[in-house]
């Protein structure tokens, strides 16, 4: 059972960023789409920027997470140490559980 209804994911969950490419004002960077990360922090719920950009009220609000990725999982050619990471804020509807 999830601890609350606002957030579908918990800190520590492994997630996959959806790999699609809809038109419009998207806040999920393309270099992270299709990549595996881990939920690091639950920021809260915010108006949906994809809808706000169209002059709409941005509802329903979306849960926003800080998602952390290993650099080596993002870039095949990453030449720094194993433990270097990159993190970005990603809305829940762009994430699914990794399994």
């Amino acid at each position: 059972m999830r601890e609350n209804k606002i957030f579908k994911f918990n800190v520590g969950d492994e997630v996959l960023v959806l790999d699609h490419d809809p038109p419009g004002h998207i806040r999920t960077p393309s270099y992270l789409r299709g990549k595996k990360g881990i939920i690091e922090f639950k920021h809260g719920i915010f108006r949906d920027p994809e809808k706000l950009a169209l002059g709409k009220p941005g509802l329903p609000k979306r849960a926003l997470y800080l998602v952390k990725f290993k650099q080596k999982d993002v870039w095949d050619s990453y030449n720094g140490p194993e433990n270097d990471t990159i993190a970005a804020d990603i809305y829940e509807h762009w994430l699914k559980l990794y399994n």
Binding site: P29, P49, K68, Q71, P81, D84, T85, I86, A87, A88
Partner: protein, 204 residues
């Protein structure tokens, strides 16, 4: 690249496509009465009131006052309000991340130029450049070295891409050997770039 921070425009430069677009949209919004030209110039002046000296003051306070530091990280809005800074709505929320011996943060906005304006003022040119935004996520250590910053291989480099509703402010480490410095002397060691994570404050 990092060394062209203070670009001087001594030649007449024509506005590029994005600048023209911004101007066209702004003029349309003014014509439609969404906001006035006065509102616009007031907002610009307001945003330029804040400068990196404000951020440096906050860092120095965190270095000398442990309770303030803990509060700043856990609840930046209330910590900053206690010393007269307003963050949060209508501006985006602020998150403060602390550099340690184990982790070195660097901030970027790959999608545009999101920046902790409420504490640092407007971002520098290099921060907005396509070059910084695209290279720092792929090769952060090389970009850091261009800024003169060498981070040990056993320290985790963590790039924070501010893609959404949070703005990230880096709390750098206090340089060793500054135990006798007062708050104002400490603030003088804190540069704008160190609060983005691309440099590290040094004892002179």
């Amino acid at each position: 690249m990092p060394h062209d921070h203070e670009k001087t425009y001594d030649e007449i430069r024509l506005p590029d496509e994005m600048e023209l677009l911004e101007r066209a949209i702004r003029e349309l919004l003014i014509e439609k009465g969404i906001f006035s030209a006065d509102d616009f110039s007031r907002q610009m002046q307001e945003s330029e009131k804040i400068s990196p000296a404000d951020g440096a003051k906050i860092v120095a306070r965190a270095w000398v006052d442990k309770n303030f530091k803990i509060n700043l990280i856990q609840n930046p809005k209330s910590a900053l309000a206690s010393i007269g800074y307003k963050v949060g709505a209508p501006e985006p929320n602020l998150a403060v991340v602390e550099q340690t011996k184990k982790i070195h943060y660097i901030v970027v906005c790959t999608l545009c130029s999101c920046y902790p304006r409420s504490l640092l003022g407007p971002p520098p040119e290099w921060y907005k450049s396509l070059e910084y935004r695209s290279r720092v996520v792929i090769n952060p250590r090389e970009v850091l070295e261009e800024f003169g910053t060498k981070v040990d291989n056993n320290v985790e480099i963590k790039v924070l891409d501010s893609t959404a509703d949070l703005r990230y402010f880096v709390l750098p480490q206090r340089p060793e050997g500054t135990e006798n410095y007062n708050e104002a002397e400490l603030a003088a060691l804190v540069s704008r770039d160190s609060m983005v994570g691309v440099t590290v404050p040094q004892k002179p």
